[in-house]
């Protein structure tokens, strides 16, 4: 079982002014952390009591969020132990993502200077991505 090397790597937080329900905010944060590679398979989510004691929210809200994550196949609850992430994102590490993003930012700047509008930029990006993935398949 992978939970032997379980790490506590995420602290959940809330934005009370966002208008998004508390339970959905918790679900989104975990989902995003998995997508960005911050959370990996075997990582332990904070216990219900830890979340509750930190955020002063109803325990049922946390349970509901964790149940939703289990339903999505993103996490699994082990009774008496905790809730663990079951998936590792295939996305590159946050550092690699940041580098790629800054490449793209520079490119968007140059395209903007050249007078390209947003639609043309997105169209160009899409056609390049399509050609690249076709090349990769071929």
């Amino acid at each position: 079982m992978l939970c032997v090397r379980a790490r506590h790597v995420i602290a959940l937080r809330l934005d009370s002014s966002s208008g998004v329900s508390t339970y959905l905010q918790l679900v989104h944060q975990v989902r995003q952390a998995v997508l960005l590679g911050v959370l990996r398979e075997g990582d332990q989510l904070p216990t219900v009591k830890e979340v509750v004691a930190e955020l002063a929210i109803n325990p049922n809200t946390v349970l509901k969020a964790y149940r939703e994550l289990e339903h999505e196949g993103l996490a699994v609850g082990r009774p008496g132990v905790g809730t663990f992430i079951t998936r590792t994102s295939t996305a590159p590490s946050p550092e690699v993502q940041a580098r790629l993003r800054s490449d793209l930012t520079r490119w968007a700047g140059r395209a903007n200077d050249a007078g390209l509008d947003v639609e043309t930029m997105v169209g160009m990006l899409r056609s390049v991505v399509n050609e690249t993935s076709r090349g990769a398949v071929a």
Partner: protein, 290 residues
């Protein structure tokens, strides 16, 4: 099993009815927020459930028994408004007296909380800050390991930081399991985070009650054309957002009329709208019971 059940419950002080015709079920392990303006009957209801006063009419049962009876008393903890403690007595002495008055007592609960809050046992209760006093009173209540915890305006007089600290302690106690909580408050911004059930009182009558999810799902904000009648199954509750052609409505069936744009209201909006309604003409008063 319902932890609290009231049927046609009423209480009169002299000629004034503080509470009338109240039918309420509180399910096990719920965290119930009791809201309403001053004089709505919140304290009266809590005192009736705690067995500190008797009903004028109707009935109330707690954990299947009579409130205040020796069978029920060990399982019910009540923290009165502003957590009154004898000012001159020391923290240690108050804890010892409370321990002696209860058949079941978990001293570790008190010791742990005092240590966490850095409250010195030799301090006098009068020397504690408002937040410390509230937390200490909560620790005394939890040391009973109650099945039902009643709190009358526990956070009303606390500053935001102390309020948060108190709610953190309360929610952590709920996470440990086994306790049903009913607490009154006039601060509705904490409700959605901390409670799963809601009871709204106004002028001694029940205006709205149920699980918070059901209450939110049972309401909608409709935006639509000025002269069009409301869709079937909708009753207007909100005047405050009816600027232009918006209505806050109670819905009994899903609205599938393309002429109306349907939005989800916040709990605050729903509560305020129901409080603002005339109790005599209240549309959902008897439709929803917890």
């Amino acid at each position: 099993m319902n932890v609290v059940e009231t049927r046609s419950l009423g209480r009169r002080y002299g000629r004034r009815w503080a509470l009338q015709q109240l039918d309420l079920d509180v399910p096990e392990h719920a965290v119930v927020g009791l809201v309403g303006p001053n004089g709505a009957g919140k304290s009266t209801l809590l005192h009736l459930v705690a067995g500190l006063i008797d009903p004028t009419e109707g009935s109330v049962s707690v954990l299947g028994g009579t409130p205040g009876s020796t069978a029920v008393l060990p399982d019910v903890a009540f923290v009165a408004q502003d957590s009154p403690l004898p000012k001159r007595a020391r923290v240690r002495e108050i804890a010892a007296i409370a321990a002696g008055m209860n058949v079941r007592w978990d001293q570790a609960v008190v010791d742990d909380r005092l240590a966490e809050l850095r409250i010195d046992e030799s301090h006098r209760a009068g020397e504690l800050s408002g937040g410390q006093r509230a937390q200490f009173a909560l620790a005394l209540a939890l040391a009973k390991r109650p099945k039902l915890l009643l709190l009358d305006e526990p956070v009303a007089s606390l500053d935001p930081l102390a309020r948060r600290g108190f709610l953190q302690s309360l929610m952590a106690a709920v996470a440990d399991g086994g306790v049903t909580v009913v607490f009154s408050t006039h601060l509705i911004d904490d409700l959605q985070r901390t409670c799963d059930h809601l009871v709204v009182l106004g002028q001694g009558s029940l205006l709205l009650s149920g699980s918070i999810d059901e209450i939110v799902q049972g309401h909608a904000v409709l935006v639509g054309p000025p002269d069009r009648p409301l869709p079937r199954g909708c009753t207007i509750v909100g005047g405050h957002r009816s600027v232009g052609h918006q209505h806050l409505v109670a819905v009994s069936t899903p609205v599938i009329d393309p002429a109306w744009q349907v939005q989800t209201p916040t709990l605050d909006e729903i509560v305020l709208a129901h409080l603002a309604l005339d109790p005599e003409q209240h549309p959902v008063r008897h439709l929803e019971v917890v």
